[in-house]
């Protein structure tokens, strides 16, 4: 089931609707998110950074919600207010951009702050990961777009020898960067950035240079890219959604200028966020007037208007929600396992500082060796600390995960023992046959 989730900078919770039917689902309470601050971590739970109560407030929390409860379950208090959030598709780590221009990287399983680094002069406004999740691209209020290699951030030797931490720094934007979208094609994709200087710029990650700059009739606050990199949608402050060409044919004499193919308009106030459904057939736009419009991209008409709140909407996401209500008849061992994992309590809160109490900070990534019966695609990366903890737990046989693994091990052992027993049985049988034959033969021989 694909759902639309939306949040607003004024406290009105996270709205959740079924994309196809438009039926409203659970509304998650008490959320006032900054732009790009809403996130569904690995489809397992929702996370959102929060707007500061006032300008004077030194910090703002990050909240986690599980899918089936409207209340905030986990509250974490980072060192400074966090704006944009992003996580990898496995939900191993979560990355947040701070008000001071610092980027924080936490491990979700343990809540540990693994790394933080000073990335920009001013606050980080948007974050995105490249297609293969090896590069982090950050945009800032100072108009700078920087590309970071996540591998490099954990490579102390590399950091020492390199001139600068970032891989590329694009400073062509004159004003605050409002949105960033990366294309498809591993770490050599394109990146589109929009800015308050009324332009969208398209960058190549492989060459590290500007490919195209498109001037729009108004400030663009949101971008959504077509799966085929044919065109991209931009939401303007004038309430229009413009369609700009990537690889599509464009008419230099169009009414909006070069590279802008067309526009969608439905008398709304400024568009603040956009999301495309996975099949590309539906575009969802959030607007300043508190409504969410669902567009059919083919006919370019609004098919549905969802009302979120009085205040402006500033985040919309389309997410494939995990099946929660699984009929018990279908529940095999696998499903029960995953459900159990879901129903398990959410991860611990994110820590405020880099934990240096356990002496040396070990932030080595460990590829968890999975038992062979699990899907190899689901392999997860965990930091060595987490693995150590799990091992310890396993030794003490205290935690549920450990018990689970233990039972699994026992089951396997049992299976193996049975096999062994059968083998022995067979051997005995053969031996007996042999002996009997021998005996019989011996008897015959004796008879002679």
């Amino acid at each position: 089931m694909e759902v639309v989730i939306a949040s607003s900078p004024v406290d009105s919770g996270i709205g959740c609707w079924d994309l196809r039917s438009g039926a409203e689902q659970l509304r998650y309470r008490s959320c006032a998110s900054p732009p790009h601050g809403l996130l569904a971590v690995a489809r397992c739970f929702l996370a959102s950074s929060q707007v500061r109560d006032s300008r004077a407030a030194a910090s703002a929390p990050i909240f986690f919600w599980s899918w089936d409860k409207p209340q905030v379950e986990v509250r974490s208090f980072p060192a400074e207010p966090i704006g944009p959030l992003v996580s990898n598709s496995d939900g191993t780590y979560i990355i947040g951009g701070g008000l001071s221009g610092t980027i924080y990287l936490w491990e979700i399983a343990s809540g540990k702050l693994l790394n933080k680094w000073h990335a920009h002069y001013r606050s980080v406004t948007c974050l995105t990961l490249s297609d293969d999740e090896s590069l982090l691209i950050s945009g800032s209020e100072d108009g700078c777009v920087r590309v970071w290699s996540l591998l490099m951030m954990f490579d102390d030797m590399g950091k020492m020898s390199a001139r600068n931490l970032y891989r590329y720094s694009f400073s062509e934007h004159a004003l605050r960067v409002t949105d960033l979208v990366s294309g498809y094609g591993l770490c050599n994709s394109i990146v589109i950035s929009s800015s308050e200087d009324r332009t969208c710029k398209i960058w190549s990650l492989s060459e590290g240079k500007l490919l195209r700059s498109i001037m729009f009739p108004s400030i663009v606050d949101a971008i959504a890219m077509d799966r085929g990199e044919h065109a991209f949608y931009t939401g303007g402050r004038d309430g229009k959604i413009y369609i700009a060409a990537l690889n599509a044919e464009s008419n230099p004499n169009g009414i909006y200028g070069m590279f802008i193919i067309g526009s969608l308009y439905d008398h709304s106030k400024a568009i603040t966020c956009l999301a495309l459904s996975t099949d590309g057939g539906m575009l969802v736009s959030g607007s300043e007037d508190g409504t969410i419009r669902v567009w059919d991209t083919k006919s370019q008409h609004v098919t549905r208007i969802l009302k979120h709140a009085k205040g402006p909407v500033n985040n919309v996401l389309i997410i494939r929600q995990p099946l929660r209500a699984c009929p018990p008849a279908l529940a095999n061992a696998q499903a029960s396992l995953s459900r159990k994992r879901l129903s398990l309590s959410l991860p611990p809160p994110l820590s405020k500082y880099i934990d240096s109490t356990d002496g040396e900070i070990e932030t080595k990534a460990v590829n968890l060796l999975l038992p062979p019966w699990q899907d190899p695609e689901k392999s997860k990366y965990c930091s060595s600390n987490v693995i150590k903890k799990q091992i310890k737990e396993l030794q003490q046989q205290s935690s549920s995960g450990a018990a689970e693994m233990e039972s699994e091990r026992l089951r396997l052992e049992c299976k193996r023992s049975i096999q062994m027993a059968q083998q022995w049985k067979k051997l005995y049988q053969e031996l007996q046959n042999l002996c009997v034959n021998e005996l019989l033969n011996g008897v015959q021989m004796d008879d002679r």
Binding site: R55, Y121, R122, E141, D142, G143, C144, S149, M152, G158, S161, A162, R163, N164, R167, S169, F170, S171, E172, A174, L175, R176, I190, E196, D197, R198, I202, K209, L210, L211, R212, S213, I219, R237, L246, N247, S250, M258, K269, A270, E288, P312
Partner: protein, 906 residues
């Protein structure tokens, strides 16, 4: 013969004819009437000989020789004829350019043999021929293959025994390279060998300065080609500057630069070349020191030598540095190649170092000093390439740094001590080449030299005139030193040297001055300055000293936008260069605003004046509103300032209406295009800003105060209309305005409505939808919204209308002026109209019914007035008003469910 045979046969046939006897060998006498065809002349003159007559259509030279003959003659044993042939070819080609195209290959094949010609004059002629005629006229035709034909002979000549021929060969080579730069790379290595060879020969530069100069000139040419190639490669890597308007997003690069493997061997050659050149230079200096004055030729020679060394060092240094750049995050491979090159380079240059300040021994004239100075600058440039390793301790840097410092300060050291440099222009030329190295040098040197160099640089920068070409060089050097984080090469810059900050501040303070001096005459330079300011703003950390300094820029920058002068004519506004600069500059200037951490109200004032300038383009005006709004959202603008800005903008914007109003007003703004559309888009932008500012009721409170202030100054109707709409944007039903605001609003509103009513044409029927009506509707629309939201306001206004009519009565009774006689009529007319409009709008019905009594009162008053014969009006007028009034009556009665008769009775 035939005839003679026929003759003997004839007599046999008959006797009718007389037999004629003829002697054989005699001829028939000519007939008497025959024309004499014999030609007699004293002499036969043939214009051409037989072969010549066949080439009428051919191209020939002045002397009548064809190309073929001329080419043959080029290998004649006589030097004079060879020379004549070459000049002939020149003639021919000039006269018939097509000939060259057709026989290009043949011509070149023949001419190249002359490269090794023993005769000096022939060589010179050939050189001229190639230079002036052949190369320029066939730029595209000559390909690499043709060049290689020439090259074979040139190389041959370069190894010739005779020195003259050798030198000539270098001249030819220079010519080829100049005309066809692409050809050079193929032969670079070989040619460098030959150069090394000839320069080793000590005898030449001692004797033939002139020729040596030519050779060195060629070498300079070659080396600069090599250097520029390196630069081009670099530029290819960072081609972000020219924004691409490519049609396709992903394209292959058309230009593929071949990776030349041979280039490393060229570097070795260059390394060999450097000591020879240095040697050459050294000997020249010793020679000069001996001489009383330096003559022009040897000076030129030395300068050329220095240029060669400079270029060679530049290329090699580039190569040494390169691996650091390209390998990126990984540590540079520890191959000893670059290191070796570096150390050997230092060994060679040490010799040059020892010569360094080339100083005249004796007292000298000014011109002499100039020359020495030029030479010293040349040497300085060479060492600046190596400034990165200047602290190695291999070189004694004091005198070098001292020279640069003096140079920056505009002084020169000579035998007579230090004095000011003679020619300003002369210095500027050299300064341009030195400036790019200054930031690197400053970051490298230690101790007090840092301060003195910074001092020198700052002084020179402050003295620089804004219209000189040097300003760009200064600015780029500034950028490098102000934004060390951007240029990672100087990462340690700020941290290692705290005093730098004071200089940085001094530089920043200088920027607005430059901007003002530039005016609108040099938009490209202005743009560079603005971009630099923007970069400073972007990269200053909040609350750091630099960002403070950036905030202070607001004061001087006010003048850039506009200032209000309190002169004799009170409050004329002086527009700064901003309004006159091209769009892209304005755009950059606007972006700078966003990064001020606190925009002062003074600065906003100046910006507002600027916004109200009639010349400003609508697009830029909208951008200003947008940027300020973003700035407000980021907390850089006070809320009251922002509201003040928006209100002032709407209230003071000069609207030039379209033609519809009246002839009289139209005359006033003759030549001005109507900007009503702009005003509409401006107000639209203002409304969106207002709605996004935060808590509406709070904003409304602040807004009203400002708006009433502005309305009380009686701005034009269009502006009031805009202001009223601003209230409407924020207000809701029922109104959030407090009581006292409503009462003051009502007084403004009433006068507004009456003023607007003047646009109603007098003789218009209400039912018909005409121009005049729609204009009034446009002005009346915001009032309806206000009434809709506040019954109280409506009540006040109705009261006012009532009083208006009564007042008229009073006035009328006192004065019986003819002119004012029509006035009350108009008023009655207006009031009727306004009431009709109110009743037309469905939304107001509920509100109107609540103040039923007042409406009734008004109607009665009008009725009374019309009934009385106190003021005269024509029958026609009376009829019109009466019909209007009847229209109104039916409306009102329908709404309030009165009987029409009821009203009449009262």
């Amino acid at each position: 013969m035939v005839r003679s045979k026929a003759a003997p046969k004839k007599p046999k046939r008959g006797v009718d004819f007389k037999k004629i006897k003829r002697k054989i060998g005699r001829k028939l006498p000519p007939p008497k009437n025959a024309t004499n065809t014999q030609i007699k002349s004293k002499a036969i003159v043939l214009p051409e000989q037989s072969v010549a007559s066949e080439r009428v259509g051919l191209a020939v030279s002045k002397k009548g020789l064809t190309l073929r003959e001329l080419l043959q003659q080029t290998s004649h044993h006589n030097a004079k004829i060879r020379k004549a042939a070459l000049t002939g070819i020149k003639d021919l080609v000039l006269k018939h350019p097509s000939e060259l195209k057709l026989h290009k290959l043949a011509i070149i094949e023949k001419l190249r043999e002359r490269i090794c010609d023993n005769d000096k004059v022939v060589g010179e002629t050939l050189y001229q021929l190639l230079k002036t005629v052949i190369f320029p006229s066939s730029k595209e035709d000559i390909t690499g293959a043709v060049i290689s034909l020439l090259m074979a002979y040139i190389f041959n000549a370069m190894t010739h025994m005779a020195i003259d021929i050798r030198l000539m060969a270098f001249k030819f080579f220079e010519l080829v390279v100049l005309s066809y730069p692409f050809s050079f790379m193929l032969y670079a290595e070989k040619v460098l060998d030959y150069y090394i060879d000839i320069l080793r020969n000590n005898q030449i530069y001692l004797q033939e300065k002139n020729k040596l100069k030519n050779t060195l000139g060629g070498l300079v040419q070659c080396l600069s080609l090599l250097a520029s190639k390196n630069e081009k490669e670099d530029r290819l890597h960072e081609e972000n500057q020219n924004i691409v308007e490519k049609k396709r997003l992903h394209t292959f690069e058309l230009e593929i630069y071949k990776d030349d493997a041979g280039i490393s061997s060229i570097d070795k050659k260059l390394l060999d070349l450097v000591p020879i050149l240095i040697n050459c230079f050294q000997e020249s200096t010793t020679l000069i020191r001996a001489m009383p004055i330096i003559d022009a030729q040897s000076f030129d020679c030395m300068l050329c030598t220095l240029q060669c060394i400079n270029l060679a060092v530049k290329i090699v240094v580039h190569k040494i540095k390169k691996p650091f750049v390209s390998t990126g995050p990984f540590p540079p491979s520890l191959s000893d190649g670059p290191d070796m090159m570096r150390s050997s380079m230092f060994v060679y240059l040490k010799k040059l170092w020892e010569i360094f300040p080339v100083v005249q021994m004796h007292q000298s004239a000014e011109k002499e000093d100039d020359r020495y100075f030029t030479l010293n600058v040349g040497i300085t440039e060479i060492f600046l390439h190596l400034s990165e390793w200047i602290n190695d301790g291999t070189l004694a840097t004091e005198k070098f740094l001292e020279f640069i410092e003096n140079f920056l300060l505009g002084q020169v050291i000579s035998s007579a001590g230090t004095h000011l440099l003679p020619k300003k222009v002369h210095v500027e030329k050299h300064l341009g080449s030195v400036l790019p190295f200054i930031p690197g040098l400053i970051s490298q040197v230690t101790g007090s030299w840092k301060t003195s160099l910074l001092e020198g640089f700052t002084g020179a920068f402050k003295n620089c005139k804004v219209d000189s070409k040097l300003i760009l060089a200064y600015l780029s050097a500034l950028e490098e030193m102000l934004l060390p984080m951007e240029n990672q090469s100087l990462l340690s810059f700020t941290f290692s040297y705290p005093d730098l900050l004071s200089y940085q501040i001094a530089w920043i303070q200088e920027l607005p001055k430059i901007l003002l001096q530039l005016g609108d005459k040099h938009p490209s330079v202005s743009k560079v300055v603005l971009k630099l300011i923007l970069k400073i703003g972007q990269s200053s950390l909040p609350d750091s000293p630099l960002s403070l300094e950036y905030d202070y820029l607001q004061w001087p920058l006010r003048e850039f936008y506009s200032t209000r002068r309190f002169s004799v004519i009170a409050g004329t506004i002086q527009y700064g260069p901003f309004t006159k600069l091209p769009n892209d500059c304005q755009e950059v200037a606007l972006c700078c605003l966003y990064y001020f951490s606190n925009l002062s109200s003074d600065f906003l004032k100046s910006l507002t004046y600027c916004c109200l300038c009639d010349d400003l383009e609508p697009l830029i005006l909208l951008r200003i509103i947008e940027v300020l709004h973003s700035s407000y959202k980021a907390g850089h603008v006070q809320i009251s300032d922002q509201i003040g800005f928006l209100v002032t903008l709407v209230a003071r914007f000069r609207v030039f209406p379209e033609i519809f109003i009246s002839e009289g007003i139209c005359m006033e703004n003759e030549g001005k295009v109507s900007n009503q559309k702009t005003f509409k888009s401006v107000t639209g932008a203002v409304f969106t800003c207002l709605s996004q500012m935060g808590d509406n009721s709070l904003i409304l409170k602040l807004l009203c105060k400002n708006i009433f202030n502005e309305i009380s100054q009686k701005p034009p109707l269009d502006n009031i209309h805009g202001l009223l709409r601003m209230i409407n944007v924020l207000d809701t039903r029922p109104t959030k305005l407090p009581e006292e605001d409503i009462s003051s609003l009502s007084s403004y509103l009433s006068s507004y409505m009456v003023d607007a009513a003047s646009y109603i044409p007098e003789n218009v029927d209400v039912a018909v939808h005409s121009d005049g009506i729609s204009i009034y509707q446009y002005y009346f629309q915001p009032c309806i919204f206000l009434f809709y939201r506040s019954d109280r306001l409506l009540y006040y206004i109705l009261k006012f209308l009532d009083s208006l009519i009564i007042e008229d009565n009073m006035l009328l009774s006192s004065s019986s002026d003819v002119k004012s006689a029509s006035e009350p009529l108009r008023r009655v007319h207006a009031v009727t109209f306004i009431l009709i409009f109110m009743h037309n709008d469905g939304r107001l019905h509920r509100s109107l019914s609540s103040s039923e009594a007042t409406v009734k009162c008004i109607l009665q008053n009008i009725c009374k007035l019309l009934g009385s014969s106190k003021f005269s009006m024509t029958l026609e007028e009376r009829h019109r008003i009466q019909s209007l009034f009847d229209h109104l009556k039916t409306r009102v009665c329908k709404l309030h469910c009165w009987d029409v008769g009821d009203l009449e009775k009262v």
